[in-house]
Symmetry: C2
Subunit: 154 residues, 2 copies
DNA sequence: TCTCGCGTTTACGTCAACGTCAAACCTGGC
DNA sequence: GCCAGGTTTGACGTTGACGTAAACGCGAGA
């Protein structure tokens, strides 16, 4: 009986989701307070199903890209009951496009920041190589350290 | 006497910078409290010079890409007095590279979110076009509205 | 002279997103 | 029967980034 994560009838205790997604129980309960999650109950205990798990994934992705919990809730709500009429769907569509534009702008900012920092790096490397070239490899180590970390993450 | 914004000797009152960058005086004073700005004084009044203006631009860009004020202060400090020794410079370099990696990761997340939202848009458009195609152009208006806004910003 | 409007400082308020702690509950194992 | 360990619900604490209110200074204009 290999209980697969992808089997839709599979349920999860709070602990399991916390371990899997590296969040605290407090966070999950907080999301529930705010209306982002609504797990079932077994007696007093929360029981998360496949849909709750997906929602949690979306919540965390949303947070990573800078959405507030309120915005995330809005989006989830839109996703959920856009059977609530065509007008509702049109509003969702507008919201989504708005978000896309905002995210594109944010990406531009990030690219700008990356370029600025890269220029700063070049400047520092130039100065350091003329001053104390022995200190340079330390920084270069970082890349290989990162590469191995990325490998490990895969 | 056309006082050009780019002339380095040009100075600014607090309100001018506030209007230009859409921030409140409270914010500028707050940044000063936190050591991110240090404008000169004319009596009791703050006088911002060209360098302060550039720093403010950097602060706001930093905020947009998700840096905390503390992180921004660190970066500005590093930029400022990396004459504080080669070891300091090496540390700056490491910090910069760290930041670059973090920003790249953030960009990946954003790209993911954009794709997800675009898929959502496609889905909604499909459903809407079969249901109430008359509601679609409203959303499309948004693009042209944005284009004109971008034009105005230039 | 008096009042505006903008500036200043100091101090407290707020909001989001949880952390932390307490007190109670259920459950399995000894 | 009882204890440890995980869960529940409050309730208060915390941090960052300001907002807001009070009280005052100061030069320009009616």
């Amino acid at each position: 009986m290999p209980s697969d994560l992808r089997r839709p009838e599979r349920t999860f205790a709070i602990r399991q989701l916390c371990l899997e997604f590296k969040v605290t129980p407090r966070a999950l309960r907080f999301y529930e307070d705010k209306g982002l999650l609504a797990p079932a109950r077994d007696g007093m205990n929360r029981v998360y199903n496949h849909r709750d798990r997906v929602r949690l994934q979306l919540i965390l992705q949303g947070k990573r890209v800078g959405f507030s919990l309120n915005e995330i809730r809005e989006i989830l709500d839109l996703y959920d009951h856009n059977d609530g009429g065509a007008a509702q769907m049109a509003r969702s569509l507008r919201k989504f496009r708005e978000r896309i534009l905002a995210l594109r702008a944010q990406r531009e900012d990030i690219d700008g920041a990356i370029h600025a920092l890269e220029e700063g790096c070049v400047r520092l490397e130039r100065q350091l190589s003329g001053l104390r070239p022995d200190l340079l490899p330390q920084a270069a180590d970082y890349d290989s350290a990162m590469r191995s970390r990325l490998d490990a993450a895969e």
